[in-house]
């Protein structure tokens, strides 16, 4: 089974986000970046499928030069090779254009299964996987909690709302978006990191893939959210805050 896993590099979780002067995106320069956490569960699932069924795991990213470290990390964890579509424009690209580029690169090779995360921590479209599936004309299922593969048949446990689930059956080639938390992700070993250096990474430019990043939707302005509710911030030493809070809860909110 040849499995492609889509991994996006995003601003690290605890980053201090500053809006860029043109108010279209954040200042990307002074940030540290990491692999979009939901995608690490997709990678882990791919590695486990390979352990069970054999085959190959290919880590794919569309991003600027710096995203090479996301591919390297995936290779160190056990992916066999990488595909990196290199362009700065992906940082602000919409799901449709990113999906086009990913589909163009993956579509060049035979593929049995494509896995993506559920959502990117930065743009949060929650769409890119399904866009790729549609462009490659593949059946798909989203928010997957469990996969059992039998020949070309995939039986998947799909999460529905409020504690409900559903079994969905489809045949490969197919795409699945993986729910976060479905497995315990592995860490890279020293040996893995060493081996990763020799693993191949195919780099593509947008021209090579025949994709343009002309946006379908555009950020007009980025800003800190306005307060919906009047929040009273309590300040002081921990002891002072605790006294204040209990007093408020007893005498103002009357919930204690």
């Amino acid at each position: 089974m040849r499995i492609f896993v889509c991994l996006k590099q995003v601003a690290a979780r605890d980053s201090l986000l500053r809006v860029r002067r043109d108010e279209r995106w954040i200042r990307d320069d002074a940030l540290s970046h990491e692999t979009n956490e939901p995608d690490t569960f997709a990678l882990e699932e791919a590695l486990r499928l390979k352990q069970r069924h054999g085959g190959e795991v290919v880590a794919v990213t569309a991003g600027p030069e710096r995203a090479a470290s996301t591919i390297r990390e995936a290779l160190a964890k056990g992916a066999d090779r990488g595909v990196h579509i290199v362009d700065d424009g992906f940082v602000e690209a919409d799901a449709y254009r990113t999906g086009q580029a990913l589909a163009a690169a993956i579509g060049r090779e035979p593929h049995d299964l494509i896995l993506t995360g559920l959502q990117s921590d930065d743009a949060g479209f929650g769409q890119t996987g399904v866009v790729v599936a549609e462009l490659l004309n593949l059946p798909y299922a989203t928010i997957i909690m469990e996969i059992s593969a039998n020949g070309g048949r995939l039986r998947c446990k799909r999460e529905l709302e409020a504690g409900w689930f559903q079994t969905v059956t489809l045949t490969t080639p197919a795409l699945l978006t993986i729910q976060s938390g479905i497995n315990k992700v592995r860490y890279a070993t020293l040996m893995g990191i060493k081996r990763a250096r020799r693993k191949p990474v195919r780099r593509y430019s947008l021209e090579e893939l025949g994709v343009e990043l002309r946006p379908q939707q555009r950020v007009r302005r980025l800003y800190p959210p306005q307060q919906a509710k009047q929040t009273e911030m309590l300040r002081g030493s921990p002891a002072e805050v605790a006294e204040q809070l209990l007093a408020k809860l007893r005498f103002e909110a009357r919930v204690l």
Binding site: Y96, G126, Q166, T169, R220, P224, P225, L256
Partner: protein, 326 residues
């Protein structure tokens, strides 16, 4: 050109978010001076269509077909493509449900049009529709506009508009049953009937006070600290999803869109960032207190009282203060 709201129902029962999307659609259609059309997709839709027709709108359109009984992306996107073809809307609005997450990106992509997902607000500005989305997990908001020809697709986040603000019409709107053709052979996924894993062992819905922990609790070894606080306040312990995924607390204590929905008198969130999927499960709480060391965390937008500090300083102080009084 019209505004089309695509409602959602399962086994003859509405998904409640349908009416939030409907209310938003009514507002947008009025502002843009376009007729509002409500679409419903499924099988045996007559009772649903009649109920929908009591709301203020130009018409109800039904895609009623035996192949649409249970949702599959292939059949539903095909039905909606045919609906859109016959209605010719400028905007197609969905509630942002799991089904929409599955369906709308396929539908929009197949038509080469943008899907603006999970909007928290929609407004009309000089003839243009502006969508507000949360970025960076709610830490920033963005005004988004479509940069492509119509139809545009968008979905509305849970709670972005009150469902009970959908207006009834003075008389029933006409119901149009569309001719829909679906080739059963084109449906590539088989979807079985939904099931529930185990009935909720603890019903947090009845709790008056809930102390809820998120990833800020850092380690399973620190859960007892939160437990102590819950006990001292006479409340129940609950958690965000990652805590239950990691097995630090059982799944039946998870709050949010894939867990329980609660509305206690007091909800004390410790080290929870306030992602929308968590917030939908607790925003109805009477009083919300948030302790989070990041003052920019979205949970503070919702809290009545906020403490921007380390929970490992604040929780022991609270325990001590509670002891002093009792």
């Amino acid at each position: 050109m019209s505004v089309l709201v695509v409602t959602e129902a399962h086994d003859g029962a509405w998904h409640p978010m349908s009416f939030e999307a409907l209310a938003a659609g009514q507002r947008v259609a009025r502002a843009a001076r376009r007729p509002l059309v409500a679409g419903v997709v499924g099988s045996d839709l007559d009772p649903l269509a009649e109920e929908l027709a009591t709301y203020e709108m130009a018409e109800v359109v039904c895609a009623d077909h035996s192949a649409l009984g249970r949702y599959t992306p292939d059949a539903y996107s095909e039905a909606l493509r045919q609906m859109i073809d016959q209605i010719n809307p400028s905007l197609v609005l969905f509630p942002h449900t799991y089904q929409t997450r599955d369906l709308a990106p396929k539908l929009a992509t197949s038509l080469g049009r943008p899907f603006i997902s999970d909007a928290v607000a929609i407004r009309c500005e000089e003839g243009e529709t502006v969508f507000v989305r949360q970025l960076f997990q709610g830490k920033l908001h963005a005004d988004i506009v479509a940069a492509e020809e119509a139809p545009h697709f968008a979905s509305l986040q849970s709670g972005a508009q009150r469902g009970d603000s959908a207006q009834r019409g003075s008389s029933a709107a006409p119901v149009r049953r569309l001719q829909i053709a679906i080739d059963a052979a084109s449906i590539r996924t088989r979807a079985d009937a939904p099931y529930q894993e185990a009935a909720d062992a603890v019903d947090l819905g009845a709790a008056g006070i809930i102390v809820s922990v998120g990833r800020g609790i850092q380690s399973p070894d620190n859960i007892p600290l939160a437990e102590q606080l819950a006990r001292a306040l006479g409340g129940e312990l609950a958690a965000s999803r990652p805590i239950c995924d990691s097995g630090w607390l059982p799944l039946d204590r998870q709050i949010g869109s894939s867990g329980q929905t609660v509305a206690p008198d007091l909800y004390l969130a410790l080290g929870i960032s306030g992602a929308i999927q968590h917030v939908v499960g607790m925003k109805g709480s009477k009083t919300i207190v948030a302790v989070n060391q990041d003052e920019g965390a979205p949970i503070f937008e919702l809290a009545d009282y906020g403490v921007a500090a380390d929970l490992f300083d604040i929780v022991p102080a609270l325990l001590k203060a509670l002891k002093n009084v009792d």
